[in-house]
């Protein structure tokens, strides 16, 4: 799967979870950039991303990923396995 496609699909997930159609995520996007992205929504986001790509993040990844770029790297490593 190409990076562009992943970002496109991630945009949809983010817009859906945070109820904001204007969201466009980049590799550098962090929870500071999106108002509702707190620790409660974080886990909802993770689960939604898992469902979108049919993958599983392990708990270590859930608690340590720092930005969307890291999330995308994990997605790539899982789907292209």
């Amino acid at each position: 799967m190409e990076k562009e496609e992943i970002y496109e699909r991630l945009n949809n997930v983010f817009r859906d979870i945070f109820d904001d159609e204007s969201i466009v995520v980049t590799a550098k996007t962090t929870s500071n950039d999106i108002e509702d992205w707190d620790s409660l929504e974080h886990i909802n986001l993770i689960v939604a991303v898992e469902q979108e790509f049919g993958i599983k993040f392990n708990m270590n990844e859930v608690t340590t990923m720092k930005n969307v770029g890291e999330m995308v790297d994990i997605i790539i490593s899982r789907v292209n396995k």
């Binding site: 620790s39 409660l40 886990i43 909802n44 689960v47 392990n58 708990m59 270590n60 859930v62 608690t63």
Partner: protein, 506 residues
């Protein structure tokens, strides 16, 4: 060993002295010996030694085994065994009475009278802290987030690092292992930085907290003699007492650790400037919140059971509301656990658990309504006045919950709440009953002002950094005032009650 006692400072001085004199590769061993001495100082018996061993040996062995099977089914079983051993002991030592009380209430529901005498078991200092720390150690190894410690003595040091045993903060193996086992050169600036923090901590505990405690004890001990206004004052003062005691202890702990080059995670970040209870808990006892988030809330929310529940709720209540129900359920579990961790009694479960959950629930659910109302009334939610109102509201809500936290029983808490409305009693403040004379009230007011000013400055960055940038005359004047205040106004000695560390009992 109390954190503000003379013996503790002699103990730290001796530890630090040996720590920097001996070859650096043995530094961690000095910390281990000191930690063992500290651990058993007040409470040396076969039973307490066994308590330490029951956690250390299985955690050490299981840690190495779990590492071999991380993220596998076998690893998971080993992890469950480890957690069961640690929690089993913690529950046996700390929560027997809670179980028995709950059993009593449940049996009463089916008309069975069950009487029991509360049991008090001697437990090792810091057991509530090191139990959770060791659980996180095992879980992190299982998750592949950290490696196990192969040296049992080093593992013992991680478990018992003495500064954190009284009041935390919660440490994680990955964050601290390099500092804990590393080689540290003596650093003059680091020492000055650490010692200033220790001084500030002592000031908070001995000058502010202890004095507030006298007032709070005085009012709570003679509820029927005071007008409601003074009860409200006591409720507010208790929150400040708890904060200065707890955050002051943390300052002492972090300062001492800093001198030795072991950096600990921050546990407070100006909580009283928070505009909501949600924000408040991000700034109060930060490491406990983070622990529960990473080891309880996230796994619970991500579990298959919760996922199925979310799916069902979404089908039934729509996407937005549907996902809230499992979230609130996980949060409720988390808050009950926070309350229980604070103490094996309903007062703690209500005060630092369920009430906090209710606040956060209402905050989230009422926010859209509040926004609409404010818009209609043309209230500017970004104005200073509105933010001030939010800050005061948050403080008062938290203080109200702390009535339960401080009370001896739930019925005692209700008595306190009733006393707030006793406004027909005489308004005179009976200083004798409180135990604070006018010579004590003045330093109390002044030290609270000092605390407030320091917190205001801290909003724009480290106060210590700013202090060290000042010229030598100003710097030392401020430090001398601080030392002078501690010596003259510190509440210690025979005429005062010894300062009991509120958070040590947990």
């Amino acid at each position: 060993m109390e954190l503000t006692s003379f013996i503790f400072f002699m103990f730290c001085l001796l530890t630090i002295l040996i720590y920097f004199v001996i070859p650096k590769k043995f530094q961690w061993f000095v910390l281990l010996i000191s930690s063992i001495v500290f651990l058993f100082w007040d409470n040396f018996s076969i039973s307490t030694v066994m308590q330490a061993i029951i956690v250390l040996i299985p955690t050490y062995i299981l840690g190495i085994q779990i590492e071999k099977y991380s993220n596998t089914k076998k690893g998971k079983w080993l992890l469950i065994i480890g957690i069961a051993i640690i929690l089993g002991q913690l529950a046996y030592l700390k929560y027997t009475n809670l179980f028995l009380t709950t059993a009593k209430h449940l049996l009463k529901l089916i008309n069975i009278e069950y009487k029991f005498t509360p049991v008090y078991r001697d437990s090792l200092i810091g057991i509530s802290y090191y139990s959770l720390i060791m659980i996180s150690y095992l879980v992190d190894i299982y998750r592949g987030a950290s490696k196990s410690q192969k040296n049992i003595f080093k593992c013992a040091l991680f478990m018992s690092y003495f500064p954190i045993l009284t009041s935390g903060p919660f440490i994680r193996y990955n964050d601290i292992n390099e500092d804990l086992y590393g080689k540290h050169k003596f650093d003059y600036n680091r020492m000055c930085n650490g010692l200033v923090r220790v001084l500030w901590g002592i000031f908070k505990v001995l000058v502010i907290s202890a004095r507030l405690g006298i007032f709070v004890d005085g009012v709570y001990g003679n509820l029927e003699s005071f007008n409601g206004i003074f009860v409200v004052a006591a409720v507010i003062f208790f929150t400040l007492q708890l904060y200065t005691n707890f955050s002051g202890s943390i300052d002492i702990i972090m300062g001492i650790s800093e001198v030795m080059g072991v950096k600990l995670p921050e546990n407070f970040s100006l909580p009283f400037f928070s505009k909501t209870i949600t924000e408040f808990w991000k700034n109060w006892h930060i490491t406990l919140g983070a622990w529960l988030r990473d080891y309880i809330f996230y796994p619970l929310q991500k579990s298959n059971v919760m996922q199925r529940l979310t799916k069902k709720c979404k089908e039934k209540f729509g996407k937005k509301n549907g996902k809230k129900i499992p979230m609130y359920l996980s949060m409720l579990v988390m808050w009950i656990l926070i309350g229980t961790w604070h103490g094996g009694a309903y007062t703690f479960i209500i005060g630092s658990g369920i009430l906090q959950f209710i606040y956060i629930f209402l905050e989230n659910e009422l926010e859209p309504i509040a926004k609409k109302v404010n818009e209609k009334l043309h209230i500017n939610m970004n104005s200073f006045g509105y933010k001030l109102y939010q800050v005061i509201r948050t403080f008062l809500l938290f203080s109200f919950a702390m009535i339960f936290f401080r009370a001896t029983s739930v019925s005692n808490a209700i008595d306190i709440i009733k006393s707030i409305f006793a406004l027909n009693r005489p308004l005179g403040l009976n200083l004798e009953l409180i135990g604070l004379d006018i010579y004590n009230l003045l330093p109390l007011v002044l030290s609270l002002i000092a605390l407030f000013v320091v917190q205001l400055i801290a909003r724009n960055g480290s106060v210590r950094e700013k202090l060290f940038k000042k010229n030598i005359a100003i710097r030392w004047t401020i430090l001398y005032i601080l030392i002078f205040a501690i010596i003259v106004f510190g509440c210690y000695g025979a005429s005062y009650d010894p300062v009991a560390f509120i958070y040590k009992q947990f």
